[in-house]
């Protein structure tokens, strides 16, 4: 299925203004869920106590890769997300590193109580994979297009939350949360989205990475919106607006230093996420900056509504999750600066 947003025109490399940061070019398209699946296999090869619980959608959230390679460390949990999360807690409290993956709608929203008390309050070393994130799920419709789990998971004490921007980063992020000790949630998507980071692109759990330098406005994005932000920045440059693009792949803990520096140096912020604009990435940044260094801010995301059936690209355009909306927001916020 052709899935990218209409705004991604071609394979032209996206130039960086001062050459300090890696150039990004479209390397192809692949869903982040495949990166999660491959990351699990890497972990399985490295560590014998990594185990995986399946939730009857293993071929969808790609835990099937692990199951094929390590059938002895894969346990089918049927369709019982809440109980699978509790079983994962028991496994973690017995020295295993359990991953349970389902659609985020169920892995985070249905499970909030279990995540809060059993996983996080216990500080259990449980890893949750939340697939089918965002509106780009497509025709399955609103029930499956989860837009609230960044908000839910980032408010839980002890939780770490990662939202990788592309396939390659998803693989790195999966390995990183496996090697890190503590509850963690990784959010990934169903639909093929641009691949643009490489093995040597900087990634570190807990660090936001500046993907493009610029001092007029900082676009802070996560997930597939990072590519949209890079595209937007190139367009903005043509109009004389020099946008910094920051990949905030770890939303909790937030990389305060990088974000405060962005506010100070750019004086305006745009957040962009495939999530409700309430309490997501934008909310997290606003909470930080309103206290540390208030600057005008605009939020790109879903505006307090549910999704619906449709093709991923038409939905992304309809719900304003493209570079076009980011460009508008950036222009607006730059005007608000003085």
């Amino acid at each position: 299925m052709e899935t990218t947003t209409k705004t991604i025109a071609n394979n032209e490399p996206l130039a960086s203004t001062n050459g300090m940061k890696p150039k990004f070019e479209l390397l192809g398209k692949k869903a982040t869920r495949f990166g999660f699946g491959e990351g699990l296999v890497t972990l399985g090869e490295r560590y014998e106590n990594v185990v995986v619980l399946g939730g009857d959608i293993t071929g969808s959230v790609m835990t099937s890769y692990f199951q094929e390679k390590f059938p002895d460390r894969f346990f089918s949990a049927g369709i019982m997300e809440a109980t699978a999360t509790l079983v994962a807690t028991g496994l973690a409290l017995s020295g295993k590193v359990p991953f349970f993956a389902s659609y985020g709608a169920f892995a985070a929203c249905r499970n909030t109580d279990m995540l809060r008390i059993s996983v996080c309050y216990n500080d259990a070393n449980v890893k949750i994979g939340g697939g089918h994130a965002g509106i780009s799920v497509g025709p399955d419709g609103a029930t499956h297009q989860v837009l609230e789990e960044i908000a839910i998971t980032r408010t839980l004490p002890n939780m770490t939350l990662v939202v990788p921007c592309d396939f390659t980063e998803a693989k790195k992020a999966t390995v990183a949360i496996g090697e890190f000790v503590g509850p963690a949630y990784i959010r990934f998507g169903r639909t093929d989205t641009p691949m643009f980071t490489k093995e040597d692109t900087p990634f570190e759990l807990g660090r936001a990475q500046v993907f493009r330098e610029g001092n007029d406005v900082a676009i802070c994005a996560c997930g597939p919106m990072v590519w949209e932000a890079l595209v937007a920045a190139e367009e903005l440059a043509k109009e004389g607006i020099d946008a910094r693009v920051i990949n905030v792949s770890t939303i909790k803990p937030l990389d305060n230093a990088t974000l405060i520096a962005a506010a100070k140096e750019c004086g305006a912020i745009v957040s962009a996420e495939e999530h409700q604009i309430t309490a997501g990435l934008g909310g997290a940044i606003a909470e930080l900056l309103v206290k540390e260094y208030p600057v005008p801010m605009e939020f790109v995301g879903v505006h307090d509504t549910f999704g619906g059936s449709g093709e991923p690209d038409e939905l992304m355009a309809l719900f304003g999750l493209t570079s076009v909306t980011i460009i508008e927001a950036a222009k607006k916020v730059v005007k608000r600066k003085s």
Partner: protein
């Protein structure tokens, strides 16, 4: 005493795009949808009449899925005989001209992924024009991938799609009528057998028998299949009937493709007092399409054009 009044019937509230999708005129002509006359709902209808409706429902499922290019074939095809009996055998009380009349029986498709069979049944009962079936899963269609109450489609009582939730909602509807509004309506719920793995089902079951909800009839689509494989290979659910019995339900085990057995089971459920009923209906996923029958790999995919032609030919 006064009653607080508010809208309880679904009204269109979701914004999914500027305009409704337009079904293909060629297909409307090919399927002769414009001249379609809805099936009638009556206890007097013969088994053959219901079988004819079931066949038409199955054809519509295939037609809508091939257009949608995504969606679930297996469950909907397998449960078509049950749906036809419910809607055309005089089991359910409803009026497509007054879809929200207070005295209607309620239908809850707890296994929301089986939406195509619900839409096809509603269209065959006259709740919407048949051509709308060709808009399944398209942007701004009232026929969402999983039933969405926000689209206000007549006959859709509740949004479902997160497994395990519809059953509890059905219990709430039954509770409201038995103890508060006392309109003497019944609530019909269909769950999948994989869906029984969700704990919510059993919490709701305990609730229903505690409150003696004899106006509730749950039917389990016992096709022994789910997404990753056959039930025992993913998570054993047997003994299904004994579980419901243990939870206080009057339990009936039937062949879910035998219209006389389905009719008899619903009639029996109607006569049971002080207990909710569970009908365990043995079905085959994808029945009766030769290349889908009893194959779990057809849980969540649509037929391609060729397969659809073949399936439609088998349903002649």
């Amino acid at each position: 005493m006064a009653e607080l009044k508010f809208h309880i019937y679904p009204i269109e509230s979701g914004f999914h795009g500027p305009k409704r999708p337009t079904p293909s005129p060629d297909l409307i002509a090919k399927y002769n949808y414009a001249n379609f006359k809805p099936f009638k709902n009556s206890k007097q209808n013969s088994d053959e009449y219901i079988a004819t409706a079931a066949k038409e429902i199955r054809r519509d499922i295939i037609r809508s899925l091939v257009e949608a290019k995504s969606g679930h074939s297996g469950g909907p095809l397998g449960i078509s005989d049950v749906m036809a009996t419910l809607y055309f055998g005089g089991v359910m009380r409803y009026d497509p001209k007054q879809p929200w009349m207070e005295s209607r029986d309620r239908f809850v498709l707890s296994a929301g992924h089986m939406a195509p069979v619900l839409y096809a049944t509603l269209a065959n009962a006259g709740f919407m024009e048949k051509k709308e079936l060709l808009t399944l899963r398209k942007l701004n269609s009232r026929l969402q991938g999983h039933p969405g109450r926000d689209m206000g489609l007549p006959g859709i009582e509740t949004s479902t799609g997160s497994l395990g939730q519809g059953m509890g909602i059905a219990v709430g509807m039954a509770l409201a009528d038995k103890y508060v509004s006392k309109n003497d309506h019944r609530v019909y719920c269909i769950t999948g057998d994989g869906e029984l793995q969700e704990g919510e089902i059993w919490e709701a079951a305990m609730f229903a028998s505690h409150w003696k909800l004899d106006n509730l009839c749950v039917l389990v689509d016992r096709n022994h299949c789910q997404i990753d494989g056959r039930n025992p290979d993913v998570m054993e659910v047997d003994p299904v009937a004994d579980k419901w019995k243990a939870f206080g339900f009057h339990t009936i085990h039937i062949n879910g493709h035998s219209i006389p057995e389905i009719r008899a089971a619903y009639a029996e459920a109607n006569s049971v007092k002080e207990k909710p009923t569970c009908i365990v209906a043995e079905t085959y996923m994808g029945h009766p399409i030769s290349f889908m029958n009893d194959d779990y790999r057809w849980h969540g995919k649509p037929p391609n054009k060729e397969q659809a032609e073949k399936a439609l030919a088998e349903l002649e």
